[in-house]
């Protein structure tokens, strides 16, 4: 939204620069073309933007495939890319043959090419250790970045980040509480379940507290988020204080974020949330575009703004909650990726949301590859890496926007 506004402002500036009298009419004409362009006419800028969007989505999808293959081929256990491909093709071959046998066709498909991993544990390492981790990175990255794009859309604010409405701080409260009390009513699923529940609860609390008279003001919502986040951090701090050294270690490591220990059951648990979240996000895209005209304008155009906001917030909580439940706190993905995508694809949510999902997945698979291979045998904190790269990058983004278009605010 913000980029669009600043572009329009720039047009107006150029107009007034030419001649003071014709300035305003020129600006009006520019704005008219802009509106026509947005209405979906076949003007050149629209075609260019569409081509750009297709290129972006296609490029990101290709990048995701590439980074996934590279990531799956790297690790402490040496398995060559050829062996990775061979192993995948072997499984694909036997899987398809099994499927065909089920429907009564017995054939020997020629897909079983390449050699299997030579290491005795190569096959197991690939399928039980490395692939679940890479797939979880894809899911969590997509979830965080989509959630960020949704948040920035519904708040019309470039600073909006999932952490701001209390999802991850709330999740940290639940997780730390489980570590302190040693609760294990759901076995190994206790901490993820508690994190997810408290994350969702904190978000709904923020929403309920900031709502008054059937409406939610954006600034109130964000400031309430700040307040709830502060209380959540206080609770985590208290839990850290009362915990014994072992539980304290768990709290600390959980907040650093990591995908080590990812298994297929975790992937299966996250998958439905992410899929539903992504689908709902794309369904909301049109309404979000209208909302970027402002609450009032959107309401006049038939958007149920309140319903849109609560649905979007629940989706954000679901996406982020399921992501952090297994991976711990991973910051900056939700903030940086949508901005980056908006720079390339423009502010339209129908492109922005899927592009963010793909971009987030690419980023997190790459970051996790660094986390598990940068230092031999050590598992670096993933949240640390994303913040280390994301912070300076975001700063650069701010400076760039400031010098080119006068900044966001």
């Amino acid at each position: 939204m913000s980029t669009e506004i600043s572009t329009t402002a720039q047009h107006a500036d150029q107009g007034t620069g030419d001649a003071a009298q014709t300035g305003s009419s020129r600006a009006r004409r520019d704005r008219k073309t802009d509106i026509e362009a947005r209405a979906g006419g076949s003007t050149a800028p629209v075609r260019a933007r569409r081509a750009r969007a297709t290129l972006l989505i296609g490029g990101l999808a290709a990048a995701l495939v590439l980074v996934t293959v590279v990531s799956a081929g790297r690790g402490q256990l040496e398995i060559s890319p050829g062996e990775v491909t061979g192993s995948v093709m072997h499984r694909l071959d036997s899987g398809l043959e099994w499927l065909l046998t089920r429907v009564g066709i017995t054939v020997d498909l020629p897909l079983d090419i390449g050699s299997l991993p030579s290491h005795a544990q190569g096959e197991n390492t690939l399928w039980l250790v490395r692939f679940p981790r890479v797939v979880l990175a894809i899911l969590v990255g997509a979830a965080l970045a989509t959630a960020g794009a949704l948040m920035q859309g519904i708040f019309g604010n470039p600073l909006a980040e999932p952490a701001l409405i209390g999802v991850s701080p709330g999740a940290a409260v639940g997780a730390s509480l489980v570590f302190v009390t040693g609760a294990s009513f759901l076995g190994e699923w206790t901490a993820p379940a508690a994190a997810f529940t408290t994350g969702l609860f904190a978000t709904l609390l923020v929403y309920a507290l900031s709502r008054s008279g059937g409406r939610t003001e954006v600034v109130t919502l964000m400031l309430t988020g700040v307040a709830v986040t502060a209380v959540a951090f206080a609770l985590v701090a208290f839990n850290t204080f009362v915990a014994n050294p072992e539980a304290r270690e768990q709290i600390v490591f959980w907040q650093l974020g990591s995908l080590n220990g990812a298994r297929w059951p975790a992937v299966n648990a996250v998958l439905p949330f992410v899929c539903v979240g992504l689908v709902v996000a794309v369904v909301l895209a049109r309404s979000l575009d209208l909302l970027s005209l402002g609450d009032k304008a959107a309401r006049h155009l038939g958007v149920n703004v309140e319903r849109l906001r609560i649905v979007a917030i629940v989706v954000v909580a679901m996406l982020v909650g399921s992501g952090v439940a297994f991976a711990g706190v991973i910051g900056f993905v939700g903030l940086v990726v949508p901005h980056l995508m908006r720079m390339v694809a423009g502010p339209g949510h129908r492109v922005l949301l899927p592009a963010s999902a793909l971009g987030g997945a690419v980023l997190l698979v790459g970051a996790d590859l660094v986390a598990r291979t940068a230092i031999q045998y050590a598992d670096l904190p993933l949240g640390m890496l994303t913040a280390l790269v994301g912070g300076p990058f975001f700063f650069w983004l701010l400076r760039r926007t400031r010098s080119r278009a006068g900044g966001w605010a």
Binding site: Q121, N124, T125, S184, E249, Y377
Partner: protein
Amino acid sequence: MGMAPDDGDPLRIAFLYMRGGMVQLLAGPGSGADAMIQAIGAVDVGTDLGLDRSFTQVTSEALIEAAPDVIIMMSEGLSSIGGADGLEKIPGVAQTPAGENQRVVDMDDTQLLSFGPRTGQTIAALAEAVYAP
């Protein structure tokens, strides 16, 4: 140590400090566990891998690469991940010889790494658990 067999390669032992799913530290040089393991005539896999700190948060693949024959854990640590059954589910553990043969030794938290008058007893108990279970 008299109990260690003279023939063949010495056993490879990992001391794994785990809490829940997120804390997975492998002992290395200077951890105290390396001294314990060497005292019973075995190889400390953390030191053997070339870890340079006493405890390192390791990846699952590091465990597979380390290929310990036996894993030593603290009793509380083992129970925090759901006992021996839970340990089998940790990625990387099941793919080690120790995981395949289910050779896990757990010792009381206060005993294992506190060097003092009872260290001799601890080493003897460890040797028995490892070589003559």
